[in-house]
């Protein structure tokens, strides 16, 4: 079992959700984060003072999957989240090992509990 953590542009979330569903990945958890990468900062002005927002709004998707689904999930995300032009700031995917997974409702554990 793996935990896939993807950090992507917010506006791509709807498309990613669809892509995941198409690959039969129905369960995931989303949170709002601020990311600092290569992307050009947002330039703001407040009362005559310029300031750059370098921590940009991103969305973090966590998907716990069984090993055989890792590639499908990664592909699904990459296919839509990479954008058309190769602009910077499209994001990253990290894959971490999961040792155990428990479905709270039933107490079920292991690979069958993940979906």
């Amino acid at each position: 079992m793996k935990l896939i953590i993807a950090i992507v542009q917010p506006q791509e979330l709807p498309a990613i959700k669809e892509a995941l569903l198409r690959k039969k990945i129905h369960k995931f958890t989303v949170s709002n984060v601020l990311g600092r990468g290569m992307e050009t900062p947002i330039h703001e002005i407040y009362r005559g003072i310029a300031h750059d927002i370098k921590l940009l709004k991103k969305v973090r998707i966590e998907i716990a999957v069984n090993d055989e689904y890792v590639d499908a999930a990664v592909d699904a995300i990459c296919s839509v989240a990479k954008g058309v032009d190769e602009e910077e700031g499209r994001g990253k995917i990290f894959v971490l090992p999961i040792e155990q997974c428990i479905r709270i409702r039933t107490g079920e554990t292991g690979p069958t509990a993940i979906g």
Binding site: V30, N32, I42, H43, E44, I45
Partner: protein
């Protein structure tokens, strides 16, 4: 001797009498001008109502932009309506009542004090508040996708030219007035102008990204702050007590006093009926009582009663409000079906119910239904046509709509480099 004494006494006395009489006139002058001044303040207060309502019904990423547009409608509107608009609207008639003009600025010559005589300064103040209202209605329809500088151009043109010209047709004594068309406080002259200008904007701009899916599905883009939206409607309702009662333009003289009081009550009843019945209709259609529908319903009732609040009975006012409340729900549905994206429902409220107000004046009031229909069709066409042309022209220059990226990011960042809710964590995705 005695006769001379008597005659002298009488002269003295008659002068005292005249003095008393003219003092009374001077009091009446003070009252009427104060009344109009306070009414103008209430109507100007409506600007904040529009700002809160429109901001509240849009996404948080466009709030600075909307507030700024409303604020400039008021500020630019004041400058433009001072420079030229007022003169175009209340000038001498030319071209058979299609056009008026009376020089630049406002007269500073006060009238002879008398009941009903208005100082031109306060008359202008009251009128400019109406002009700003017509202008600011549009900002909601074009929210979330229009370039700020184009909006300023639009705002200048509507308060400087388009609104004053059609305003002249009726209130300046132009051809519609001659025809017998009646519009007491502006269901048509003010609200339908704004509503149809907004419709033109919404059409030329096209919908916001994501509002209608390619598969034909209609998606909701919920407002970000319904507390502000509700506050806006409460303020608008209050401001309407300047809009309608103030349009009597005088309160002294028993007829004026009585008219003002009737108008105030009719305005209240129509607003309430609009709110209650739009809530009930939306509830029965969608199974849940929807606050934004009820808020729009109250505004719809207010718009509907604006043309006729002085000429209908209390019960008729309730009926007019009730119908408006129903129309606004249907109008919102209609726009969705036609895939027109009017984020705050400016057309259903001000355009559709404006026309309803104009026609209701013919149905319930003592006015010719034909004239009412003519006026209620011609002015919306004028506003829609001129504004459609303007928006199309701006589009052809490529300065009408922001880029897709800017729209997604929000106009606050892309157009102003300034966020409305700095520090708040806002879902950038749903």
């Amino acid at each position: 001797m005695k006769k001379i004494f008597l005659i002298m006494a009488m002269i003295l006395l008659s002068q005292t009498v005249l003095f008393a009489s003219s003092e009374t006139a001077i009091n009446a002058y003070a009252i009427d001008n104060m009344f109009l001044f306070l009414a103008a303040v209430l109507v100007l207060f409506m600007q904040s109502g529009f700002a809160m309502l429109e901001a509240g019904l849009n996404r948080s990423k466009n709030v600075v932009n909307i507030l700024f547009k409303n604020f400039m409608d008021m500020s630019l509107g004041v400058i433009l309506y001072y420079a030229i608009g007022y003169s175009l609207m209340y000038g001498n008639s030319y071209l058979g009542g299609w056009f008026g003009f009376a020089g630049f600025g406002i007269s500073s010559v006060p009238p002879t004090p008398a009941a009903g005589a208005l100082n031109p300064q306060v008359d202008w103040l009251f009128q400019v508040a109406f002009a700003a209202t017509a202008a600011t209605i549009v900002s909601g329809s074009v929210a979330g996708r229009m370039q700020f500088k184009s909006y300023l151009i639009y705002s200048i043109i509507i308060t400087g030219l388009v609104y004053p010209i059609s305003g002249f047709w009726k209130w300046g004594g132009g051809w519609l007035d001659a025809l017998g068309f009646y519009d007491f406080a502006g269901s048509i002259v003010v609200h339908s102008v704004g509503g149809f200008a907004g419709l033109a904007g919404a059409l030329v701009l096209g919908p916001r990204i994501g509002r209608f899916s390619r598969n034909g599905q209609v998606n909701a883009i919920p407002g970000h702050n319904l507390a502000l939206a509700a506050l806006g409607v409460f303020i608008l309702w209050i401001g309407w007590y300047g809009f309608n009662p103030g349009s009597q333009l005088a309160i002294t003289g028993a007829d004026n006093t009585n008219a003002v009081m009737l108008i105030a009550t009719n305005t209240t009843l129509a607003a309430a009926a609009g709110a209650v019945f739009s809530m009930l209709l939306a509830w029965s259609l969608y199974k849940k009582p929807d606050l934004t529908m009820a808020l729009n319903g109250a505004l719809a009732g207010l718009v509907g009663i604006t043309a006729n609040c002085d000429s209908v009975t209390n019960n008729e006012a309730i009926i007019i409000g009730l119908v408006a409340g129903i129309l606004v729900v249907l109008g919102i549905k209609l726009l969705d079906n036609l895939k027109i994206d009017d984020p705050v429902g400016a057309w259903p409220v001000h355009g559709l119910c404006g026309i309803w107000g104009g026609i209701a004046t013919g149905i319930f009031g003592p006015y010719s239904l034909t004239s009412q229909i003519i006026g209620s069709v011609v002015i919306p066409i004028w506003a829609f046509g001129t504004m459609y042309a303007l928006f199309t022209f701006l589009k052809s220059l490529g300065i009408l709509r922001v880029s897709e990226e800017d729209e997604l990011r929000g106009l606050d960042i892309s157009e102003h480099g300034e966020e409305a809710y700095s520090g708040f964590q806002i879902f950038t995705a749903e």
